[in-house]
Protein backbone atom coordinates (compact mmCIF):
# COMPACT_ATOMS: atom_id res chain seq x y z
CA UNK A 1 0.00 0.00 0.00
CA UNK A 2 2.58 2.57 1.08
CA UNK A 3 4.91 1.15 -1.52
CA UNK A 4 2.31 1.78 -4.22
CA UNK A 5 2.13 5.37 -3.04
CA UNK A 6 5.90 5.68 -3.10
CA UNK A 7 6.10 4.33 -6.65
CA UNK A 8 3.36 6.73 -7.66
CA UNK A 9 5.17 9.73 -6.16
CA UNK A 10 8.46 8.76 -7.78
CA UNK A 11 6.77 8.39 -11.16
CA UNK A 12 5.07 11.76 -10.65
CA UNK A 13 8.32 13.50 -9.76
CA UNK A 14 9.85 12.05 -12.91
CA UNK A 15 6.91 13.17 -15.06
CA UNK A 16 7.01 16.71 -13.67
CA UNK A 17 10.76 17.22 -13.65
CA UNK A 18 12.00 15.65 -16.87
CA UNK A 19 10.00 17.20 -19.78
CA UNK A 20 11.32 20.82 -19.41
CA UNK A 21 14.74 19.45 -20.32
CA UNK A 22 13.49 17.73 -23.47
CA UNK A 23 13.28 19.04 -27.01
CA UNK A 24 9.82 19.63 -28.42
CA UNK A 25 9.64 16.17 -29.99
CA UNK A 26 10.44 14.64 -26.61
CA UNK A 27 7.67 16.67 -24.95
CA UNK A 28 5.31 15.61 -27.73
CA UNK A 29 6.21 11.95 -27.13
CA UNK A 30 5.63 12.28 -23.40
CA UNK A 31 2.21 13.86 -23.99
CA UNK A 32 1.43 11.13 -26.51
CA UNK A 33 2.42 8.53 -23.96
CA UNK A 34 0.18 10.03 -21.26
CA UNK A 35 -2.76 10.18 -23.66
CA UNK A 36 -2.35 6.45 -24.14
CA UNK A 37 -1.98 5.96 -20.40
CA UNK A 38 -5.45 7.51 -19.99
CA UNK A 39 -6.93 5.36 -22.74
CA UNK A 40 -5.38 2.15 -21.44
CA UNK A 41 -6.41 2.95 -17.85
CA UNK A 42 -9.97 2.69 -19.14
CA UNK A 43 -9.19 -0.51 -21.01
CA UNK A 44 -7.49 -1.91 -17.92
CA UNK A 45 -10.74 -1.41 -16.05
CA UNK A 46 -12.71 -3.27 -18.74
CA UNK A 47 -10.15 -5.99 -19.42
CA UNK A 48 -7.92 -6.22 -16.37
CA UNK A 49 -10.36 -5.62 -13.54
CA UNK A 50 -13.76 -6.60 -14.93
CA UNK A 51 -12.34 -9.42 -17.06
CA UNK A 52 -14.18 -8.56 -20.28
CA UNK A 53 -12.55 -8.92 -23.67
CA UNK A 54 -12.46 -5.72 -25.63
CA UNK A 55 -10.71 -5.16 -28.95
CA UNK A 56 -12.64 -2.03 -29.85
CA UNK A 57 -11.10 0.54 -27.55
CA UNK A 58 -9.61 2.64 -30.35
CA UNK A 59 -13.14 3.24 -31.63
CA UNK A 60 -13.95 5.21 -28.46
CA UNK A 61 -10.61 6.93 -28.71
CA UNK A 62 -11.63 7.96 -32.21
CA UNK A 63 -15.16 8.97 -31.22
CA UNK A 64 -13.69 11.24 -28.54
CA UNK A 65 -11.19 12.75 -30.96
CA UNK A 66 -13.72 13.33 -33.74
CA UNK A 67 -16.34 14.75 -31.38
CA UNK A 68 -13.95 17.39 -30.11
CA UNK A 69 -12.62 18.12 -33.59
CA UNK A 70 -16.09 18.51 -35.09
CA UNK A 71 -17.34 20.64 -32.20
CA UNK A 72 -14.28 22.90 -32.43
CA UNK A 73 -14.60 23.13 -36.23
CA UNK A 74 -18.12 24.41 -35.63
CA UNK A 75 -16.53 27.26 -33.68
CA UNK A 76 -17.50 25.99 -30.25
CA UNK A 77 -15.23 25.50 -27.27
CA UNK A 78 -13.10 22.47 -26.37
CA UNK A 79 -14.84 22.57 -23.02
CA UNK A 80 -18.14 21.84 -24.71
CA UNK A 81 -16.62 19.13 -26.90
CA UNK A 82 -15.03 17.25 -24.01
CA UNK A 83 -18.25 16.57 -22.05
CA UNK A 84 -20.00 15.71 -25.31
CA UNK A 85 -17.25 13.23 -26.12
CA UNK A 86 -17.52 11.72 -22.64
CA UNK A 87 -21.28 11.48 -22.83
CA UNK A 88 -21.18 9.99 -26.31
CA UNK A 89 -18.59 7.41 -25.33
CA UNK A 90 -20.51 6.50 -22.19
CA UNK A 91 -23.71 5.90 -24.16
CA UNK A 92 -22.03 3.96 -26.96
CA UNK A 93 -19.92 2.03 -24.46
CA UNK A 94 -23.08 1.04 -22.65
CA UNK A 95 -24.54 -0.15 -25.94
CA UNK A 96 -21.39 -2.11 -26.77
CA UNK A 97 -21.70 -3.82 -23.42
CA UNK A 98 -24.90 -5.53 -24.52
CA UNK A 99 -23.21 -8.17 -26.70
CA UNK A 100 -21.10 -8.94 -23.62
CA UNK A 101 -24.25 -10.01 -21.83
CA UNK A 102 -24.82 -12.62 -24.53
CA UNK A 103 -21.34 -13.80 -25.38
CA UNK A 104 -18.00 -14.09 -23.68
CA UNK A 105 -14.27 -14.55 -24.40
CA UNK A 106 -13.31 -14.81 -28.04
CA UNK A 107 -16.81 -14.03 -29.33
CA UNK A 108 -16.88 -10.83 -27.35
CA UNK A 109 -13.39 -9.94 -28.55
CA UNK A 110 -14.54 -10.22 -32.14
CA UNK A 111 -17.82 -8.43 -31.54
CA UNK A 112 -15.90 -5.42 -30.20
CA UNK A 113 -13.37 -5.73 -33.01
CA UNK A 114 -16.24 -5.64 -35.48
CA UNK A 115 -17.66 -2.57 -33.79
CA UNK A 116 -14.29 -0.89 -34.23
CA UNK A 117 -14.28 -1.70 -37.94
CA UNK A 118 -17.76 -0.21 -38.30
CA UNK A 119 -16.76 3.02 -36.57
CA UNK A 120 -13.64 3.24 -38.67
CA UNK A 121 -15.63 2.77 -41.89
CA UNK A 122 -17.93 5.60 -40.88
CA UNK A 123 -14.94 7.86 -40.18
CA UNK A 124 -13.43 7.02 -43.55
CA UNK A 125 -16.55 7.14 -45.69
CA UNK A 126 -18.77 9.89 -44.27
CA UNK A 127 -16.82 12.81 -45.67
CA UNK A 128 -19.47 15.43 -44.87
CA UNK A 129 -18.95 14.79 -41.17
CA UNK A 130 -15.41 13.54 -40.69
CA UNK A 131 -13.58 14.77 -43.76
CA UNK A 132 -12.98 11.16 -44.87
CA UNK A 133 -9.35 10.20 -45.49
CA UNK A 134 -8.37 13.87 -45.58
CA UNK A 135 -9.35 14.15 -41.94
CA UNK A 136 -9.80 17.34 -39.98
CA UNK A 137 -6.85 19.69 -39.58
CA UNK A 138 -6.01 22.83 -37.63
CA UNK A 139 -7.61 21.64 -34.44
CA UNK A 140 -6.86 24.31 -31.85
CA UNK A 141 -5.60 23.73 -28.34
CA UNK A 142 -7.88 24.78 -25.51
CA UNK A 143 -7.18 27.35 -22.83
CA UNK A 144 -7.80 26.75 -19.15
CA UNK A 145 -8.97 29.56 -16.80
CA UNK A 146 -7.52 32.08 -19.20
CA UNK A 147 -4.16 30.31 -19.55
CA UNK A 148 -3.37 29.41 -23.13
CA UNK A 149 -2.28 25.80 -23.56
CA UNK A 150 -0.84 26.42 -27.01
CA UNK A 151 2.73 25.75 -25.96
CA UNK A 152 3.90 22.14 -26.03
CA UNK A 153 5.05 22.19 -22.43
CA UNK A 154 1.88 23.89 -21.18
CA UNK A 155 -0.23 21.33 -22.99
CA UNK A 156 1.91 18.52 -21.61
CA UNK A 157 1.25 19.67 -18.04
CA UNK A 158 -2.45 19.95 -18.85
CA UNK A 159 -2.44 16.31 -20.06
CA UNK A 160 -0.45 15.30 -16.99
CA UNK A 161 -2.96 17.01 -14.70
CA UNK A 162 -5.86 15.29 -16.44
CA UNK A 163 -4.07 11.94 -16.17
CA UNK A 164 -3.58 12.44 -12.43
CA UNK A 165 -7.19 13.44 -11.93
CA UNK A 166 -8.46 10.43 -13.87
CA UNK A 167 -6.02 8.09 -12.11
CA UNK A 168 -7.26 9.35 -8.74
CA UNK A 169 -10.86 8.81 -9.79
CA UNK A 170 -10.07 5.29 -10.98
CA UNK A 171 -8.21 4.59 -7.74
CA UNK A 172 -11.25 5.70 -5.76
CA UNK A 173 -13.56 3.66 -7.96
CA UNK A 174 -11.48 0.51 -7.52
CA UNK A 175 -11.40 0.93 -3.75
CA UNK A 176 -15.18 1.37 -3.63
CA UNK A 177 -17.72 -1.48 -3.60
CA UNK A 178 -17.97 -1.00 -7.36
CA UNK A 179 -14.33 -1.94 -7.75
CA UNK A 180 -14.87 -5.11 -5.73
CA UNK A 181 -17.90 -5.92 -7.87
CA UNK A 182 -15.80 -5.56 -11.03
CA UNK A 183 -13.13 -7.96 -9.81
CA UNK A 184 -15.81 -10.38 -8.62
CA UNK A 185 -17.24 -10.28 -12.12
CA UNK A 186 -13.85 -11.21 -13.51
CA UNK A 187 -12.95 -13.93 -11.04
CA UNK A 188 -16.24 -15.80 -10.87
CA UNK A 189 -19.33 -14.28 -12.47
CA UNK A 190 -21.73 -16.98 -11.34
CA UNK A 191 -20.60 -16.72 -7.75
CA UNK A 192 -20.76 -12.93 -7.90
CA UNK A 193 -24.31 -13.19 -9.20
CA UNK A 194 -25.32 -15.55 -6.41
CA UNK A 195 -23.89 -13.07 -3.89
CA UNK A 196 -26.23 -10.41 -5.19
CA UNK A 197 -23.91 -8.51 -7.56
CA UNK A 198 -26.00 -7.30 -10.47
CA UNK A 199 -23.61 -8.68 -13.06
CA UNK A 200 -25.45 -7.32 -16.10
CA UNK A 201 -25.28 -3.78 -14.78
CA UNK A 202 -21.59 -4.07 -13.87
CA UNK A 203 -20.68 -5.60 -17.21
CA UNK A 204 -22.30 -2.68 -19.01
CA UNK A 205 -20.72 -0.18 -16.63
CA UNK A 206 -17.24 -1.61 -17.06
CA UNK A 207 -17.53 -1.01 -20.79
CA UNK A 208 -19.09 2.42 -20.42
CA UNK A 209 -16.56 3.75 -17.91
CA UNK A 210 -13.67 2.30 -19.89
CA UNK A 211 -15.09 4.01 -22.97
CA UNK A 212 -15.28 7.38 -21.21
CA UNK A 213 -11.57 7.18 -20.41
CA UNK A 214 -10.84 6.44 -24.06
CA UNK A 215 -13.08 9.32 -25.08
CA UNK A 216 -11.20 11.78 -22.88
CA UNK A 217 -7.91 10.44 -24.19
CA UNK A 218 -9.20 10.91 -27.73
CA UNK A 219 -10.23 14.49 -27.03
CA UNK A 220 -6.76 15.27 -25.66
CA UNK A 221 -5.19 13.44 -28.60
CA UNK A 222 -7.07 15.58 -31.15
CA UNK A 223 -5.76 18.79 -29.58
CA UNK A 224 -2.29 17.33 -29.16
CA UNK A 225 -1.68 16.28 -32.77
CA UNK A 226 -4.03 19.00 -34.15
CA UNK A 227 -4.83 16.86 -37.19
CA UNK A 228 -6.90 13.72 -37.16
CA UNK A 229 -7.72 11.17 -39.83
CA UNK A 230 -9.12 7.64 -39.53
CA UNK A 231 -5.74 5.86 -39.41
CA UNK A 232 -5.00 6.05 -35.65
CA UNK A 233 -8.39 4.55 -34.83
CA UNK A 234 -8.23 1.27 -36.72
CA UNK A 235 -8.63 -2.22 -35.34
CA UNK A 236 -4.84 -2.41 -35.31
CA UNK A 237 -4.81 0.47 -32.82
CA UNK A 238 -7.32 -1.34 -30.60
CA UNK A 239 -5.22 -4.46 -30.71
CA UNK A 240 -2.20 -2.34 -29.80
CA UNK A 241 -4.03 -0.92 -26.76
CA UNK A 242 -5.00 -4.42 -25.68
CA UNK A 243 -1.37 -5.39 -26.05
CA UNK A 244 -0.30 -2.44 -23.88
CA UNK A 245 -2.66 -3.49 -21.09
CA UNK A 246 -1.58 -7.13 -21.13
CA UNK A 247 2.13 -6.33 -21.41
CA UNK A 248 1.95 -3.83 -18.56
CA UNK A 249 0.02 -6.20 -16.35
CA UNK A 250 -3.77 -6.46 -16.55
CA UNK A 251 -5.43 -5.77 -13.21
CA UNK A 252 -2.40 -3.87 -11.87
CA UNK A 253 -3.05 -0.19 -11.21
CA UNK A 254 0.25 0.99 -12.72
CA UNK A 255 0.07 -1.54 -15.59
CA UNK A 256 -1.09 1.02 -18.17
CA UNK A 257 1.79 3.36 -17.32
CA UNK A 258 4.37 0.70 -18.20
CA UNK A 259 2.31 -0.91 -20.95
CA UNK A 260 1.85 2.37 -22.79
CA UNK A 261 5.55 3.05 -22.44
CA UNK A 262 6.18 -0.28 -24.17
CA UNK A 263 3.61 0.49 -26.87
CA UNK A 264 4.47 4.17 -27.49
CA UNK A 265 8.05 4.80 -26.37
CA UNK A 266 9.68 1.45 -27.13
CA UNK A 267 9.04 1.64 -30.91
CA UNK A 268 10.52 5.17 -30.90
CA UNK A 269 13.55 3.99 -29.01
CA UNK A 270 13.93 1.04 -31.40
CA UNK A 271 14.23 3.37 -34.38
CA UNK A 272 17.97 2.68 -34.43
CA UNK A 273 16.99 -0.68 -35.92
CA UNK A 274 15.53 1.33 -38.85
CA UNK A 275 13.41 -0.78 -41.20
CA UNK A 276 13.52 -3.65 -38.74
CA UNK A 277 12.20 -1.72 -35.75
CA UNK A 278 8.67 -3.12 -35.83
CA UNK A 279 10.03 -6.60 -36.34
CA UNK A 280 12.17 -6.17 -33.25
CA UNK A 281 9.16 -4.76 -31.41
CA UNK A 282 6.99 -7.77 -32.29
CA UNK A 283 9.74 -10.17 -31.27
CA UNK A 284 10.22 -8.24 -28.01
CA UNK A 285 6.50 -8.61 -27.26
CA UNK A 286 6.69 -12.39 -27.80
CA UNK A 287 9.74 -12.71 -25.57
CA UNK A 288 8.13 -10.54 -22.92
CA UNK A 289 4.99 -12.68 -22.89
CA UNK A 290 7.00 -15.90 -22.70
CA UNK A 291 9.00 -14.50 -19.83
CA UNK A 292 6.20 -12.70 -17.95
CA UNK A 293 2.79 -14.00 -19.04
CA UNK A 294 1.10 -11.84 -16.39
CA UNK A 295 2.71 -8.63 -17.53
CA UNK A 296 5.64 -6.48 -16.43
CA UNK A 297 4.13 -5.63 -13.07
CA UNK A 298 4.03 -9.28 -12.07
CA UNK A 299 7.80 -9.04 -11.45
CA UNK A 300 7.43 -7.94 -7.79
CA UNK A 301 4.88 -10.71 -7.15
CA UNK A 302 7.17 -13.19 -8.73
CA UNK A 303 10.16 -12.04 -6.65
CA UNK A 304 8.05 -12.24 -3.53
CA UNK A 305 6.90 -15.77 -4.41
CA UNK A 306 10.52 -16.76 -4.96
CA UNK A 307 11.55 -15.27 -1.62
CA UNK A 308 8.76 -17.12 0.15
CA UNK A 309 9.79 -20.35 -1.54
CA UNK A 310 13.40 -19.79 -0.46
CA UNK A 311 12.39 -19.03 3.12
CA UNK A 312 10.15 -22.08 3.21
CA UNK A 313 12.97 -24.22 1.87
CA UNK A 314 15.36 -22.82 4.49
CA UNK A 315 12.78 -23.47 7.22
CA UNK A 316 12.32 -27.03 6.01
CA UNK A 317 16.05 -27.59 5.91
CA UNK A 318 16.40 -26.19 9.44
CA UNK A 319 13.57 -28.40 10.68
CA UNK A 320 15.10 -31.44 9.02
CA UNK A 321 18.49 -30.63 10.60
CA UNK A 322 16.82 -30.31 14.01
CA UNK A 323 15.05 -33.65 13.60
CA UNK A 324 18.35 -35.17 12.46
CA UNK A 325 20.15 -33.79 15.56
CA UNK A 326 17.52 -35.26 17.88
CA UNK A 327 17.70 -38.68 16.29
Amino acid sequence: MTRNLLVGLLALAFLIAVPPFLKSYGIYLFSYWLVFVIATMGLNLTVGYAGQKSLGHAAFFGIGAYTVAIVMKAGLSFWLGLPLAMLGCFAIGLALGFPALRVQTIYLAFATLGFNTAVWLVMRNEEWLTGGTFGINNIARPSLFGFSLDGNLAYYYFVLGTTLLLAALLWGLLRSPWGKAFTALRDNPIRAESLGVHIQAYTLLSFAIGAVYAGIAGALFASLVQFIEPAPFTVAASIMMYLMVVVGGPGYFFGPLLGSAVGVLLPEWLRFAQAWYLFVFGAAVIVLMLWLPDGLLSIPDRLRARRHAREAAAARAAAAAKVGAQA
Partner: protein, 291 residues
Protein backbone atom coordinates in the same frame (compact mmCIF):
# COMPACT_ATOMS: atom_id res chain seq x y z
CA UNK B 1 -29.31 -12.33 -63.54
CA UNK B 2 -26.13 -13.27 -65.37
CA UNK B 3 -24.29 -10.62 -63.38
CA UNK B 4 -25.71 -12.01 -60.20
CA UNK B 5 -24.56 -15.56 -60.98
CA UNK B 6 -21.13 -14.30 -61.94
CA UNK B 7 -20.82 -12.45 -58.66
CA UNK B 8 -22.08 -15.53 -56.86
CA UNK B 9 -19.42 -17.78 -58.38
CA UNK B 10 -16.52 -15.43 -57.71
CA UNK B 11 -17.91 -14.85 -54.22
CA UNK B 12 -17.93 -18.59 -53.59
CA UNK B 13 -14.33 -18.80 -54.77
CA UNK B 14 -13.20 -16.04 -52.38
CA UNK B 15 -15.33 -17.50 -49.63
CA UNK B 16 -13.78 -20.93 -49.97
CA UNK B 17 -10.38 -19.36 -49.31
CA UNK B 18 -11.73 -17.66 -46.17
CA UNK B 19 -13.04 -21.09 -45.23
CA UNK B 20 -9.57 -22.66 -45.54
CA UNK B 21 -8.00 -20.11 -43.20
CA UNK B 22 -11.02 -20.18 -40.92
CA UNK B 23 -10.99 -23.96 -40.66
CA UNK B 24 -7.39 -24.00 -39.45
CA UNK B 25 -8.28 -21.35 -36.91
CA UNK B 26 -11.21 -23.41 -35.61
CA UNK B 27 -9.15 -26.59 -35.40
CA UNK B 28 -6.44 -24.88 -33.36
CA UNK B 29 -9.01 -23.45 -30.99
CA UNK B 30 -10.78 -26.78 -30.54
CA UNK B 31 -7.71 -28.90 -30.01
CA UNK B 32 -5.68 -26.63 -27.79
CA UNK B 33 -7.56 -23.42 -27.01
CA UNK B 34 -5.00 -21.46 -29.04
CA UNK B 35 -6.37 -18.27 -30.55
CA UNK B 36 -4.07 -17.36 -33.35
CA UNK B 37 -4.08 -13.68 -34.19
CA UNK B 38 -1.34 -14.31 -36.72
CA UNK B 39 -3.57 -16.53 -38.88
CA UNK B 40 -3.48 -14.07 -41.77
CA UNK B 41 0.31 -13.90 -41.54
CA UNK B 42 0.34 -17.71 -41.62
CA UNK B 43 -1.06 -17.36 -45.14
CA UNK B 44 1.23 -14.48 -46.10
CA UNK B 45 4.44 -16.28 -45.12
CA UNK B 46 3.90 -19.38 -47.33
CA UNK B 47 3.09 -17.06 -50.23
CA UNK B 48 6.54 -15.49 -49.89
CA UNK B 49 8.17 -18.88 -49.35
CA UNK B 50 6.69 -20.06 -52.64
CA UNK B 51 7.98 -16.91 -54.34
CA UNK B 52 11.41 -17.60 -52.91
CA UNK B 53 11.39 -21.18 -54.20
CA UNK B 54 10.02 -19.98 -57.53
CA UNK B 55 12.97 -17.58 -57.74
CA UNK B 56 15.18 -20.68 -57.71
CA UNK B 57 13.41 -21.66 -60.98
CA UNK B 58 11.44 -24.46 -59.36
CA UNK B 59 8.03 -25.27 -60.85
CA UNK B 60 5.02 -23.98 -58.91
CA UNK B 61 3.79 -27.31 -57.61
CA UNK B 62 7.26 -28.34 -56.42
CA UNK B 63 7.70 -25.03 -54.58
CA UNK B 64 4.26 -25.56 -53.08
CA UNK B 65 5.28 -29.00 -51.80
CA UNK B 66 8.55 -27.66 -50.35
CA UNK B 67 6.69 -24.77 -48.76
CA UNK B 68 4.30 -27.23 -47.13
CA UNK B 69 7.22 -29.06 -45.54
CA UNK B 70 8.82 -25.84 -44.28
CA UNK B 71 5.45 -24.54 -43.05
CA UNK B 72 4.72 -27.69 -41.05
CA UNK B 73 8.11 -27.28 -39.39
CA UNK B 74 7.95 -23.54 -38.78
CA UNK B 75 4.26 -22.60 -38.53
CA UNK B 76 3.30 -25.96 -37.05
CA UNK B 77 6.03 -27.41 -34.87
CA UNK B 78 8.06 -24.34 -33.97
CA UNK B 79 4.96 -22.22 -33.35
CA UNK B 80 3.51 -24.88 -31.05
CA UNK B 81 6.71 -25.52 -29.12
CA UNK B 82 7.90 -21.94 -28.99
CA UNK B 83 4.74 -19.97 -28.30
CA UNK B 84 1.61 -22.06 -27.77
CA UNK B 85 2.92 -24.71 -25.36
CA UNK B 86 4.54 -22.37 -22.80
CA UNK B 87 1.67 -19.86 -22.78
CA UNK B 88 -1.52 -21.89 -22.91
CA UNK B 89 -1.67 -22.62 -19.22
CA UNK B 90 -1.77 -18.88 -18.44
CA UNK B 91 -5.17 -18.41 -20.06
CA UNK B 92 -6.21 -16.53 -23.13
CA UNK B 93 -4.61 -13.11 -22.76
CA UNK B 94 -0.88 -13.97 -23.01
CA UNK B 95 -1.30 -16.19 -26.06
CA UNK B 96 -3.45 -13.59 -27.81
CA UNK B 97 -0.85 -10.90 -27.19
CA UNK B 98 2.05 -13.17 -28.15
CA UNK B 99 0.38 -14.04 -31.47
CA UNK B 100 -0.30 -10.33 -32.03
CA UNK B 101 3.43 -9.76 -31.48
CA UNK B 102 4.14 -12.60 -33.89
CA UNK B 103 1.88 -11.04 -36.51
CA UNK B 104 3.66 -7.67 -36.17
CA UNK B 105 7.05 -9.35 -36.33
CA UNK B 106 6.23 -11.50 -39.38
CA UNK B 107 4.58 -8.68 -41.30
CA UNK B 108 7.40 -6.22 -40.70
CA UNK B 109 10.09 -8.87 -40.99
CA UNK B 110 8.93 -9.64 -44.53
CA UNK B 111 8.62 -5.94 -45.26
CA UNK B 112 12.11 -5.12 -44.08
CA UNK B 113 13.84 -8.31 -45.15
CA UNK B 114 12.21 -8.99 -48.49
CA UNK B 115 10.17 -6.17 -49.94
CA UNK B 116 7.39 -3.70 -49.23
CA UNK B 117 6.05 -4.01 -52.78
CA UNK B 118 3.21 -6.21 -53.99
CA UNK B 119 4.58 -9.10 -56.03
CA UNK B 120 2.69 -10.89 -58.79
CA UNK B 121 2.17 -14.55 -58.15
CA UNK B 122 1.75 -17.33 -60.73
CA UNK B 123 -1.74 -18.78 -60.89
CA UNK B 124 -2.31 -22.47 -60.58
CA UNK B 125 -4.97 -22.29 -63.24
CA UNK B 126 -4.76 -21.21 -66.87
CA UNK B 127 -6.30 -17.88 -67.78
CA UNK B 128 -9.44 -19.24 -69.36
CA UNK B 129 -13.08 -18.15 -69.52
CA UNK B 130 -16.10 -20.39 -69.68
CA UNK B 131 -19.48 -19.41 -70.94
CA UNK B 132 -22.21 -21.42 -69.28
CA UNK B 133 -25.74 -20.39 -70.25
CA UNK B 134 -24.70 -16.77 -70.71
CA UNK B 135 -22.74 -16.63 -67.46
CA UNK B 136 -19.03 -16.02 -67.82
CA UNK B 137 -16.91 -17.68 -65.19
CA UNK B 138 -13.13 -17.95 -65.02
CA UNK B 139 -11.31 -21.23 -64.68
CA UNK B 140 -9.50 -19.74 -61.68
CA UNK B 141 -12.79 -19.20 -59.80
CA UNK B 142 -14.05 -22.70 -60.50
CA UNK B 143 -10.66 -24.27 -59.79
CA UNK B 144 -10.20 -22.34 -56.54
CA UNK B 145 -13.64 -23.32 -55.35
CA UNK B 146 -13.15 -26.99 -56.28
CA UNK B 147 -9.67 -27.21 -54.77
CA UNK B 148 -10.74 -25.54 -51.54
CA UNK B 149 -13.85 -27.69 -51.25
CA UNK B 150 -11.80 -30.85 -51.75
CA UNK B 151 -9.40 -29.73 -49.02
CA UNK B 152 -12.09 -28.76 -46.52
CA UNK B 153 -14.15 -31.89 -47.13
CA UNK B 154 -10.97 -33.99 -47.10
CA UNK B 155 -10.05 -32.57 -43.71
CA UNK B 156 -13.58 -33.32 -42.54
CA UNK B 157 -13.36 -36.89 -43.75
CA UNK B 158 -9.96 -37.30 -42.14
CA UNK B 159 -11.33 -36.09 -38.81
CA UNK B 160 -14.48 -38.19 -39.00
CA UNK B 161 -13.30 -41.42 -40.62
CA UNK B 162 -9.71 -42.20 -39.64
CA UNK B 163 -8.53 -43.40 -36.24
CA UNK B 164 -6.10 -40.52 -35.95
CA UNK B 165 -8.81 -38.04 -36.89
CA UNK B 166 -11.20 -39.41 -34.31
CA UNK B 167 -8.47 -39.32 -31.70
CA UNK B 168 -7.92 -35.66 -32.59
CA UNK B 169 -11.63 -34.99 -32.13
CA UNK B 170 -11.55 -36.74 -28.78
CA UNK B 171 -8.72 -34.45 -27.68
CA UNK B 172 -10.72 -31.46 -28.83
CA UNK B 173 -13.79 -32.52 -26.90
CA UNK B 174 -12.21 -33.56 -23.65
CA UNK B 175 -8.47 -33.61 -23.16
CA UNK B 176 -8.56 -35.44 -19.84
CA UNK B 177 -10.75 -38.29 -21.02
CA UNK B 178 -8.62 -38.59 -24.13
CA UNK B 179 -5.51 -38.96 -21.97
CA UNK B 180 -7.21 -41.64 -19.87
CA UNK B 181 -8.14 -43.51 -23.06
CA UNK B 182 -4.48 -43.70 -23.95
CA UNK B 183 -4.48 -41.12 -26.72
CA UNK B 184 -1.15 -39.38 -27.20
CA UNK B 185 -2.54 -35.88 -26.62
CA UNK B 186 0.55 -33.78 -27.44
CA UNK B 187 0.96 -35.68 -30.71
CA UNK B 188 -2.67 -35.09 -31.70
CA UNK B 189 -2.34 -31.40 -30.85
CA UNK B 190 0.77 -31.25 -33.02
CA UNK B 191 -1.19 -32.84 -35.89
CA UNK B 192 -3.73 -30.04 -35.55
CA UNK B 193 -0.99 -27.42 -35.78
CA UNK B 194 0.42 -29.22 -38.81
CA UNK B 195 -2.97 -29.32 -40.54
CA UNK B 196 -3.43 -25.63 -39.81
CA UNK B 197 -0.07 -24.92 -41.46
CA UNK B 198 -1.00 -27.01 -44.51
CA UNK B 199 -4.39 -25.33 -44.90
CA UNK B 200 -2.64 -21.96 -44.68
CA UNK B 201 -0.25 -23.00 -47.48
CA UNK B 202 -3.17 -24.06 -49.66
CA UNK B 203 -4.96 -20.79 -48.95
CA UNK B 204 -1.78 -18.92 -49.92
CA UNK B 205 -1.52 -20.85 -53.17
CA UNK B 206 -5.12 -20.01 -54.06
CA UNK B 207 -5.46 -16.45 -52.85
CA UNK B 208 -2.14 -14.87 -53.81
CA UNK B 209 -2.70 -14.74 -57.60
CA UNK B 210 -5.58 -12.31 -57.05
CA UNK B 211 -4.45 -10.56 -53.83
CA UNK B 212 -0.76 -10.36 -54.88
CA UNK B 213 2.00 -11.24 -52.41
CA UNK B 214 2.38 -8.31 -50.05
CA UNK B 215 3.57 -8.09 -46.46
CA UNK B 216 0.18 -6.88 -45.20
CA UNK B 217 -2.02 -9.21 -47.25
CA UNK B 218 -2.75 -11.26 -44.13
CA UNK B 219 -4.43 -8.46 -42.22
CA UNK B 220 -7.84 -8.46 -43.86
CA UNK B 221 -7.66 -12.16 -44.67
CA UNK B 222 -7.10 -13.05 -41.03
CA UNK B 223 -10.07 -11.00 -39.87
CA UNK B 224 -12.35 -12.49 -42.51
CA UNK B 225 -11.24 -15.97 -41.51
CA UNK B 226 -12.11 -15.27 -37.86
CA UNK B 227 -15.52 -13.92 -38.82
CA UNK B 228 -16.15 -16.88 -41.10
CA UNK B 229 -15.23 -19.30 -38.34
CA UNK B 230 -17.49 -17.63 -35.79
CA UNK B 231 -20.44 -17.14 -38.15
CA UNK B 232 -20.40 -20.82 -38.99
CA UNK B 233 -19.86 -21.97 -35.44
CA UNK B 234 -16.60 -22.00 -33.60
CA UNK B 235 -16.96 -25.46 -32.14
CA UNK B 236 -17.91 -27.10 -35.40
CA UNK B 237 -15.43 -27.64 -38.19
CA UNK B 238 -18.09 -27.64 -40.91
CA UNK B 239 -19.03 -24.18 -39.67
CA UNK B 240 -15.93 -22.52 -41.13
CA UNK B 241 -16.88 -23.70 -44.61
CA UNK B 242 -20.43 -22.40 -44.36
CA UNK B 243 -19.28 -19.15 -42.74
CA UNK B 244 -16.55 -18.59 -45.32
CA UNK B 245 -18.89 -19.10 -48.26
CA UNK B 246 -21.56 -16.84 -46.76
CA UNK B 247 -19.05 -14.05 -46.12
CA UNK B 248 -17.46 -14.34 -49.56
CA UNK B 249 -20.76 -14.29 -51.44
CA UNK B 250 -22.40 -11.53 -49.40
CA UNK B 251 -19.33 -9.35 -49.69
CA UNK B 252 -19.29 -9.65 -53.45
CA UNK B 253 -23.00 -8.98 -53.77
CA UNK B 254 -22.92 -6.03 -51.38
CA UNK B 255 -19.97 -4.46 -53.17
CA UNK B 256 -21.88 -4.65 -56.45
CA UNK B 257 -25.40 -3.80 -55.37
CA UNK B 258 -25.07 -1.68 -52.21
CA UNK B 259 -21.81 0.22 -51.89
CA UNK B 260 -18.20 -0.82 -52.47
CA UNK B 261 -16.98 1.50 -49.70
CA UNK B 262 -18.83 -0.52 -47.08
CA UNK B 263 -17.79 -3.91 -48.50
CA UNK B 264 -15.73 -4.69 -45.41
CA UNK B 265 -18.73 -4.09 -43.18
CA UNK B 266 -20.68 -7.00 -44.64
CA UNK B 267 -18.87 -9.73 -42.75
CA UNK B 268 -19.35 -7.61 -39.70
CA UNK B 269 -23.09 -7.16 -40.07
CA UNK B 270 -23.66 -10.90 -40.58
CA UNK B 271 -21.35 -11.58 -37.67
CA UNK B 272 -23.22 -9.20 -35.36
CA UNK B 273 -26.56 -10.71 -36.34
CA UNK B 274 -25.25 -14.20 -35.66
CA UNK B 275 -23.75 -13.18 -32.33
CA UNK B 276 -26.97 -11.59 -31.20
CA UNK B 277 -29.36 -14.32 -32.27
CA UNK B 278 -27.30 -17.50 -32.25
CA UNK B 279 -24.03 -16.83 -30.39
CA UNK B 280 -22.78 -20.37 -30.83
CA UNK B 281 -22.76 -19.85 -34.62
CA UNK B 282 -24.99 -21.24 -37.34
CA UNK B 283 -23.83 -24.83 -36.92
CA UNK B 284 -22.37 -24.64 -33.44
CA UNK B 285 -23.55 -26.41 -30.34
CA UNK B 286 -24.46 -24.49 -27.22
CA UNK B 287 -21.91 -24.64 -24.42
CA UNK B 288 -23.25 -24.60 -20.89
CA UNK B 289 -21.91 -22.11 -18.41
CA UNK B 290 -20.00 -23.83 -15.63
CA UNK B 291 -19.00 -22.59 -12.19
Amino acid sequence: MADFLQLLVSGLATGSIYALAGLGFTLLWQASGTINFAQGEFVMLPAFMMLAFAALKLPLLLSFALTCVVAVLVLGWAFKRGIADPLLRFGMMPIVVATIGLAIALRNGVRAGYSAEAHPFPSLFADKLFDIAGVTVTLADIGTLAFALVLVLGTQAFLAKTVTGRAMQAVAQNTDSATVLGIDVPRMVFYTFAINALLACAAALLVTPTYLAKFDMGESLGTKAFFAAIIGGFNNSRGALLGGLIVGVCENLAAAYISPTYKDAVALVIFMAVILFKPQGLLGKRVERKV
